[in-house]
């Protein structure tokens, strides 16, 4: 996944003048300043909580409670709602009738003005939210009062391609887990924010980083590595939740990454590969798996009953130049399933073999029953790709049941040239790292699309540059092409698009769906809206002060339903940065 600015956001060009290394707000209180000082001294964290009896206090988060997430209308235990990652929440107090009365309850101001991409988790009256640069806050979910604040102290040299993002935390037992830009997993006390353990998972000097939220399940923490723009070898790792000891590692690029020399992608488009040249390169160079990329940018989905893990793998490295990485480049641009206990391979489906467009798979996989081609209801997997397709899979063997093109396409799978070739969608998507939501009652999957084109260039091959930016080509905005965004609802049982809502800016963030018949989503313009899930009709909106480019979460507290979303803007599309989480209540 690479970030490329969309020409639409041209109107938002910044002209601000700067004065410090990071833009701090003026809200930093004395206590916060002390916390920062302690962090600087290496303590890593300080608790700002006092010990009043009314303070929200997290209880222990058992596996049993986590398993119930899909049926629990009170809490929001995991960042994509539940292990199936449906982002469908059972709370229905806010619904198509009452949403008109949804009001801002409070805002929580964070200490950095940068991209926000995570959805908070909320349980036992405490909300855990993150910002860019791995700042983690525990906040009273009713009042917005800060309980503690952890500011991660980074390694000196970290490379991140697409913004200093973080996509949230996981919790299990008495611990909260955050993965960091310098490729660590940090376990903190949910009550105090004190670091219990920290584990280095990969070398940031080789381009490894982590922006995904971890997933906590069955005593394990699952987390994926990113950094394909720097020639990493990607992996999904399982660590012991108590100690951080490694349980298993699944390399996203296996030692035999060659595959079947596929000439067409999963939707049947010709890949225009020169297989003879690739075979010659393979004989000369060997298998490229050690620097082949395969980032993971989002949480895996968990099938609790069958103890299976489903996740998608990002682009091969280098992004645009396939000549130095002959073969299908397994398992890049793929849906992969592995065994939860052992990490052993079960099945995969590669969307785009030997991708040279960065048309990868980054939006998190969703598990839900789907109708197969014979009309039978079977366990299924949904994924929406940067290629702009919604893919529906058979969960048993990962095979593709159907796919639906969600965006306008032009020159799909054309080969990049020295002069530049215009391709639509470009590498921002389609559907980027933005999660889907589904409404299982309606059988609809909701996706946010980026309707834009890019020019793709190939100049010359370069060898692996030891952890440096390695794109293998270039790309540039195409101002002559129209850009916009859509909210798209697709019937995943038939593949038919049910409705689309057109928005002026390419969409990036995520969707929350609820049993109240609503979906919630934000825009780069700062709008945050609620829509009728069945029709797409906008029923409510609120204008924030920065791009709303994160997925929302919801929870119940003292009889009221709350909806929380970050408004931090977005680095890669250069949407206006902000420093607040907005919390609405009815």
């Amino acid at each position: 996944m690479w970030a490329q600015r969309s020409p639409t956001s041209m109107g938002l060009l910044r002209e601000s003048r700067r004065s410090g290394n990071l833009v701090f707000t003026d809200r930093i209180q004395l206590g916060r300043s002390i916390a920062v000082c302690l962090v600087a001294l290496g303590y890593g964290v300080t608790s700002l909580a006092d010990d009043t009896a009314t303070m929200a206090r997290p209880g222990s988060l058992s596996q049993e409670r986590l398993n119930s997430a899909a049926q629990n209308s009170t809490d929001f235990f995991v960042t994509h709602g539940n292990y199936a990652q449906t982002r469908y929440h059972p709370a229905d107090r806010i619904n198509t009738q009452t949403v008109k009365d949804l009001k801002l309850a409070w805002t929580f101001q964070v200490d950095l003005t940068e991209s926000i991409q995570g959805a908070p988790i909320v349980y036992d009256g405490v909300m855990y939210l993150t910002t860019s640069y791995n700042h983690l806050f525990a906040v009273d979910a009713k009042t917005g009062k800060e309980l503690w604040h952890y500011k991660h102290v980074m390694d000196p040299a970290v490379s991140v391609c697409c913004g200093p993002n973080n996509r949230g935390v996981a919790a299990l037992g008495d611990l909260v887990y955050m993965a960091t830009l310098d490729a660590k997993l940090v376990a903190l006390s949910a009550k105090t924010g004190a670091v219990v353990w920290s584990k280095q998972l990969a070398d940031p000097l080789k381009g490894y980083s982590i922006t995904a939220a971890p997933t906590a399940v069955d005593g394990k923490i699952l987390i994926g590595l990113a950094g394909a723009e720097y020639g990493i070898r990607g992996a999904l790792k399982a660590l012991d939740a108590k100690s951080g000891a490694e349980v298993w590692t699944f390399h996203t690029t296996p030692a035999n990454s060659v595959g079947v020399w596929a000439t067409h992608d999963a939707t049947g488009l010709d890949l225009h590969r020169d297989i003879a040249a690739e075979k010659a390169a393979l004989a000369k160079r060997g298998d490229p798996y050690k620097t082949l990329g395969g980032s993971i940018w989002q949480n895996p989905a968990i099938d609790l009953a069958n103890k299976r893990v489903y996740f998608v793998v990002g682009n091969p490295a280098p992004d645009i130049d396939g000549s130095v990485r002959p073969g299908d480049n397994l398992y890049t641009d793929s849906l992969v399933s592995v065994d939860l206990e052992s990490g052993k391979y079960i099945c995969h489906l590669q969307y785009i073999p030997h991708d040279i467009w960065d048309m990868d798979a980054v939006s998190p996989a969703v598990l839900t029953p789907v109708t197969d081609q014979a009309g039978k209801k079977i366990p299924g997997v949904l994924h929406a790709g940067k290629s702009g397709y919604l893919y529906v899979h058979d969960a048993k063997d990962c095979s593709l049941i159907r796919s639906t093109g969600l965006v306008e396409a032009k020159n799909e799978r054309a080969l990049p040239t020295r002069e530049g070739v215009l391709i639509r969608p470009g590498l921002n998507g389609g559907v980027s790292v933005t999660p889907l939501a589904i409404d299982p009652k309606l059988g609809l999957a909701f996706a946010l699309t980026n309707e834009s084109a890019l020019k793709y260039y190939f100049f010359t091959s370069t060898e692996y540059p030891n952890g440096k930016l390695w794109l293998g080509g270039s790309f540039k905005g195409a101002p002559e092409e129209p850009t916009w965004g859509d909210i798209v609802a697709t019937d995943y049982n038939t593949g038919k698009i049910r409705w689309k809502v057109k928005k002026p800016l390419p969409m990036f963030g995520g969707i929350l769906a609820t049993a109240g018949g609503l979906i919630f989503t934000g825009e780069g313009s700062g709008e945050f809206g609620a829509y009728d899930s069945a029709t797409g009709k906008e029923l409510w909106s609120y204008k924030t002060d920065a791009g709303v480019n994160a997925p929302a979460s919801t929870y119940m507290l003292d009889g009221k339903q709350y909806v929380v979303v970050g408004a931090g803007g977005n680095t890669q599309l250069d949407y206006k940065r902000g420093n607040k989480y907005y919390v609405f209540a009815y």
Binding site: W2, A3, Q4, R5, P7, S9, M10, L13, R14, S16, R17, R18, N21, L22, V23, T113, E114, Y133, M154, D155, P156, A157, V158, S159, V160, C161, C162, G163, P164, L181, L205, E229, P318, I320, G420, K455, Y457, F459, T462, P465, N466, K468, L469, W470, L471, G472, G473, S474, F475, K476, G477, P479, T571, Q572, D574, R577
Partner: protein, 200 residues
Amino acid sequence: MSQKFVLKIIAHSALLLLAGFAGAGVAQAQAIEQRAAVCKACHVAGTLPSTSVIPNIWGQSEGYTYIQLRDFKSGARNAPEDAAMRGFVATMSDADMLEIAKYASTQPWPKVEPISTDAALLKKGAYATALGGCVGCHFNDWNGFSANPRIGDQSTAYLAATIRQFRSGSRANSPGMSDLVRTFDEGDIEAVAAYLNAAQ
């Protein structure tokens, strides 16, 4: 950069090298400020002219400075203009490089002037950086982060020279950057350098 200028820097380098890095043990004992004085001979801590082909390094991202020092030493960064720096880093240990990079990152960013007021040029530069997607790595207000340098408020001449080095491949320590700036034409380079220089 003229050849004469390069030679002058190399000569200075040799002297400063002897003065500043006369041995690892001695170097360790020196206060970091004293050792950084070597750097300040060329990388001025006062106002930096926008015509300077020597960049400002004070207040620069720690990771970026460290990696450049490392690459000078390994030869990964090996353009003709880098000869002087290669001399300086020859006896530096990894710990020295990290220490200097950290120290430099904590220093105030100096004034860099003059900045261009040519509205058309600045607009062109803003447009080219937008199409080029520069913000994807260099971030909000061009501040950079860690291994990615701050490029806002840098010397115009240095920025333009650097883009040209990446384009030609003479600076070979970021092939990704080389590919990205190969979509710029000469006019873009001047405009981008002026725009970033003025983004203070």
